[in-house]
């Protein structure tokens, strides 16, 4: 059953498992991918993830796991984790300046109920600067509808409230939505953002 849930979780939430064998696209393909991401993202930032993320825990599942007289299987403990919350420090806002400023924190939800801590395509690595292509997360998203925050290294399973306002997720959770912040990639993304803003008439 747990295995089934893990597979189902993968199908629903995208590539959650790792290590994984991936492809490394060429410049043109990368530009094509970025072009789509730039267009679809409401926020594009260069940011540094924190040393450890918080876990987002489904309250109902946790309650079931902690039911009196019941000792949960360790595999079940993973099932209650619906994702992770990275409070990433913004270094450079490339698109969506109204949402966040340099030096502020952007709250990033990374889906993942599996035991694995990262997505095979979008590995958010602690302390590693990267370009994030983000979109606002709907407050009605079922994954966070009844969820709480479990800080790193918890002593108890006491959940903190999850502030769903200004919460972001990857623009495409099932595909690449992170890029290296190398000068070359950064230059390309900035150009694509300029092109995209020129092509799209301002609504203001």
């Amino acid at each position: 059953m747990i295995r089934t849930l893990q597979i189902l979780g993968f199908l629903l939430l995208g590539a959650l498992l790792s290590p994984a064998q991936t492809s490394f696209p060429g410049d043109k393909e990368l530009e094509r991918i970025c072009q789509g991401l730039v267009h679809s993202s409401s926020l594009v930032v260069v940011a540094v993830p924190p040393s450890q993320p918080d876990e987002i825990v489904d309250r109902a599942k946790l309650k079931a796991a902690l039911a009196p007289g019941h000792v949960p299987d360790i595999a079940q403990l993973n099932d209650q984790i619906v994702g992770r919350l990275f409070n990433a420090k913004v270094v450079d806002v490339l698109k969506g300046e109204a949402a966040v400023k340099n030096g502020e924190v952007v709250k990033l939800f990374v889906s993942g109920g599996d035991m694995v801590s990262f997505d095979a395509l979008n590995v958010v690595e602690p302390g590693k600067k990267a370009i994030f292509f983000l979109s606002r997360m709907s407050e009605s998203d079922p994954r966070i509808k009844d969820a709480g925050v479990l800080p790193p290294q918890p002593k108890t399973m006491e959940l903190l409230p999850l502030d769903v306002s200004a919460l972001y997720k990857f623009t495409d959770e099932n595909a690449r939505s992170m890029m290296s912040s190398s000068p070359k990639t950064l230059k390309m993304v900035k150009k694509l953002i300029r092109d995209d803003s020129r092509a799209k008439p301002s609504r203001h």
Binding site: I2, R3, Q6, I7, F10, A15, L17, S18, P19, A20, Q21, T22, S23, F24, P25, G26, D27, K28, E29, L30, R32, Q52, E55, A65, L66, P68, G69, H70, V71, P72, D73, I74, A75, L77, N78, I81, D114, M115, V116, S117, F118, A120, L121, V123, P126, L150, P152, Q153, P154, K155, T156, M157, A175, R176, M178, M179, S180, S182, K184, T185
Partner: protein
Amino acid sequence: MSSSGQILGRYALPLARQRLGSYFSDNDGDALLGAQHLFVTDERDSAVGFNLSTSTIDLNWQAPSCGGFPCPLISLAGVAAGDQLILEQTGNGDGSSTLLALTPGTSGCPTPFCATAASVPNATLSGFDFSGTVFSPTFETFLFTDDFFCMCVIPPSASGGGATIGGAVSAPDANVTPAPDLLPPWPEQAMDGKRESSVKITISPVQTIQDGDTASFSVSVTGTDPNDPPTYQWSFSAPKSAGNNPNVNFTDPTSASTKTDGHWFAYPNETCPSAPASSAYDIRVSVMIPNSAPKNKKSKLTINLPMVGGSTSNALLSGIPDFSFDSTRMVYFVSGPGTLARATPPVTIFLAPASQFYNKSAQHENVHVQQYLTGMLSDLYTVSGLMAVLSPLTDPTSDGLTSKYVAAATAYLTSQKALLVARHDAAEIEAYNVSDLIAPQYFYQRCGVTHFPLPQ
């Protein structure tokens, strides 16, 4: 009939034999479309014109009665300016043929024929039929020497079995065979293109599949003779400079429907950095309709590769530790590993089993499995490691110990994740060192990358 296919009216055509030799637009001379008229003949006795503007029959020609055998055969030869119907009557009793020009609006033609005596501008055969016995090779060459159209049939012995049609557009010299003129300046409305437009050929839309999957293509042809169906030939093409041996195998290359395999090719032919995940073949079908030039239709077959070929889970641990009560200390404690166990890590391959990359991906993931079992990740997610954090736990109540167990186990899993992230690059390089040697050496190659999986 309206553009949407609604039938707006039905009109009986006064054909003496109440039948058509075959159906419209099969180009054998029993029906023709003019600028304003649909002309139809029953091949023996009648030819009628249905005025498409007024929905009336304004041409009704009846052949002279035939007393002998065989009777002449009638076919529609073409439509001249002013919607004059050129009608061809072959197999007369003396072996001659007659060409008639019938003018709509004249209704019943005067006796003997309403035939133009001299010439018919731009009137050339557009339909004819050699299949009738009337026009058998026994007639051999014959020239009609009146001021009418001239038709020549060359004996098989002289032409290698072929036959030639001559088209006269002005009063012919009775002693000269007109030069063949197979591509005359037709009246626009009677050109082949107009007639053939009633043949509809539709091919399947663009198909997109993953490498190793199959696709289905079909072609639908309407408006052809059901007794003489078309034949088909499927083919493909890919960019000339593409790599990884572009190929499409058709299961039924000469049928109206066929399946294909899905073989991704590299275009541009680049290994590092990788060629795009999508490659597209042009899929063509050539439709051979009897007595007509082959017609080609084109579609596309796009083959995709998933960005992630496979992955290995670290969902290794399962089970429940043993809890006991220490009556000396009056506390519950974790007394042993119970059913805790570490399993072989599950592998998921995101490629179709028939994919050319399946083995490459499976071998890559197998390296990760071995890393967990005996290699660089074998110290992660272990029962002993978990027990090291669970063993010190105590609580006066069973539920209290359970709560501490859940918190400690969750923290342990989190710590293992952090270690896994730290070793991720080294683990991947080791796996790529194995899989990069396996063909096809495209797309899932490491390409010198040392930090995974972000593109540089």
